[in-house]
Symmetry: C2
Subunit: 410 residues, 2 copies
Amino acid sequence: MATVVQKFGGTSVADAAKITRAAGRVKKARDEGYSVVTVVSAMGKSTDTLVDLARELSDNPDKRELDMLMSTGEQVTISLMVMALKELGIDAVSLTGWQAGIRTEAVHQNARITDIETDVIESHLKEGRVVIVAGFQGMTPEGEITTLGRGGSDTTAVALAAALKAESCSIFTDVTGVYTSDPRVVKEARQLSSISYDEMLELANLGAGVLHPRAVEFAKNYQVPLVVKSSMVEKEGTIVEEEASMEQNLMVRGLAFESAVTKVTVEGMPNENDTLSNLFSALAESGINVDIIIQQVTENGRINVAFSIHTQALKDTLAAVESRREELQYTNVRHFDRLAKVSIVGSGMISNPGVAADMFRVLSRQDVRVQMVSTSEIKVSAVVEEEKMVRAVEALHTFFELDQRVELNV
Amino acid sequence: MATVVQKFGGTSVADAAKITRAAGRVKKARDEGYSVVTVVSAMGKSTDTLVDLARELSDNPDKRELDMLMSTGEQVTISLMVMALKELGIDAVSLTGWQAGIRTEAVHQNARITDIETDVIESHLKEGRVVIVAGFQGMTPEGEITTLGRGGSDTTAVALAAALKAESCSIFTDVTGVYTSDPRVVKEARQLSSISYDEMLELANLGAGVLHPRAVEFAKNYQVPLVVKSSMVEKEGTIVEEEASMEQNLMVRGLAFESAVTKVTVEGMPNENDTLSNLFSALAESGINVDIIIQQVTENGRINVAFSIHTQALKDTLAAVESRREELQYTNVRHFDRLAKVSIVGSGMISNPGVAADMFRVLSRQDVRVQMVSTSEIKVSAVVEEEKMVRAVEALHTFFELDQRVELNV
């Protein structure tokens, strides 16, 4: 009997009625003859409520204890999901992360899965039970409870699918699939029937938000076909797999964007070997995520560095740079707010060097000035003025024909 | 370094401020030089909230899944308690029931502790940490999460005190100790400085409510000195130990009472060997708790049986008896509502056969008619009219001089 893994996020199990609806999705897969393993998140905003409780007691709660606290959220959902399934006449059993054999490294709040001992799950499947597993959590070899950090439940589901050699891993969420761009902003955005791991990875990293990049990476490494679909409406989802089978003729597959970007420039540093390393070590030590980096040597032989950050991190960034003033010997630090990043993604780009040029031409025609650029094999990102972001995105969406349904339905 | 075990009930950890106050009590014991193990219950009414959630999904939720669900309540409290302790500068670590090595039989919702593997707790104590343990829960040899049923956290605390050979086990609660009677009803009720296990057991069974009888029995079996004290105010509590040291001259030590008692009579059954057994099997199968039982053979050689139950169980009781009508061959079933049970407890009674007579005389003088009687070595219970309960209790409290402080303070 083939096995499928499913995952329901917090909004899909936010209350009793939604849990019952999700249970109906589980039953459907069971009725189709599959062995089913289902991963669930904590209900709605319940994790936030727990963290708020912790913050009432401590400004900087102990990470081990936060894991102890937060892992209860998923444990609540697994038991309720089994109750809902039993009401539908489906035999099921709930397992916490540690009961399900999910072993992690000994890091709290952001542990990685090292290994899954599938014996317990497999013996329940053999006896015909649906197995409901708490997402986002695991156990260290020493018996400590850990959580996996952001996107943890997606990662649990993909890791289980890999360990159980499942036919597929369905991620049920509050959207119907992966879109060419954010449909809340781009009216013409349409749902993709399939997309490759690498393209999904770029889109996930660019903040498309449907799937966590860690989970996509895991799926790519273990070649687990992912299906993103709605837990609310019955509709075909988007398949994430090695080759985006029917849409290869599309050069650009998706378009991501984010606002609240700030560019910081550190100017006039000496041109020495360790200048860049010193600067970015200082930022890393303060926990600042730097995105695009541009280095430039000036006419008088000094170095200027520009980098982009999330606007929220500006204060910490300036403090970190200021604290290394003596070491870095810069003359000037400046910052430019109200920027945005617009990115096009598609594996078809690899063999089409003109895509970046196309992108810049479209932006120029729209009077959008590009402030920074970054590229990968299958992505081009441009930092632009925030107020022109939507205009830029819509123009790019039309130019690259993302609104045209060229794909064949399989 | 001597070890003490403490336990804080739900009302003592109902919110962040109360958890911080309880943490202060833990710190105090630590500052006095003890190794401290603290057992906590779920916050306030949080277990009820979880059970309500389950009932939204199922009228009869699976017991294994209820254990999975309910055990999260204590897990939340342990992590918050550690955070509160760390804010006070105390090194501490939280352990779930399974992490603390609490092994139970494989029964859900009402498991008994079979064994405690203390290695993990002891290694944390050795490193100078306070250990916070989730009450009410354990794990079966197969790795299933169980809960211990009513009074479970008290039992966890006493069992840990026994396993760790602790000097004492303090039960912090919302009253300041064990009283001669319920101070909300009996104005003259006063707090006892000490009481014996057997007396406490009778009082606990009679619904005094401060300590669960299972926990008292456990403490008696392992000779763990219990201290009942307030988590809110600084005051000496009541010590429960083998010999109630300084109050032995008191014949009656406490007075318990409960309302909503119903007497049921089943009349005219044949006088056969298995009549009683058939009747009470029928009641047991319906899960009805029977308290006092009186059997009487009538002049024509038939049997009348009277028994008392909680009024809430009346409907089920009548249905159970009715369902066995053919087998039991009774002529009549009657019931008498609005009764109450009044009990006096004291190990001094053992050598004082006149105590029951005294009790009946006091009741008679107050025009209180006794409808049923039950006795043990250290207890006499009388079922009386509910409306005369308080009058009876007050008269007995005065007669047996429970308002007189004859005890010496040690």
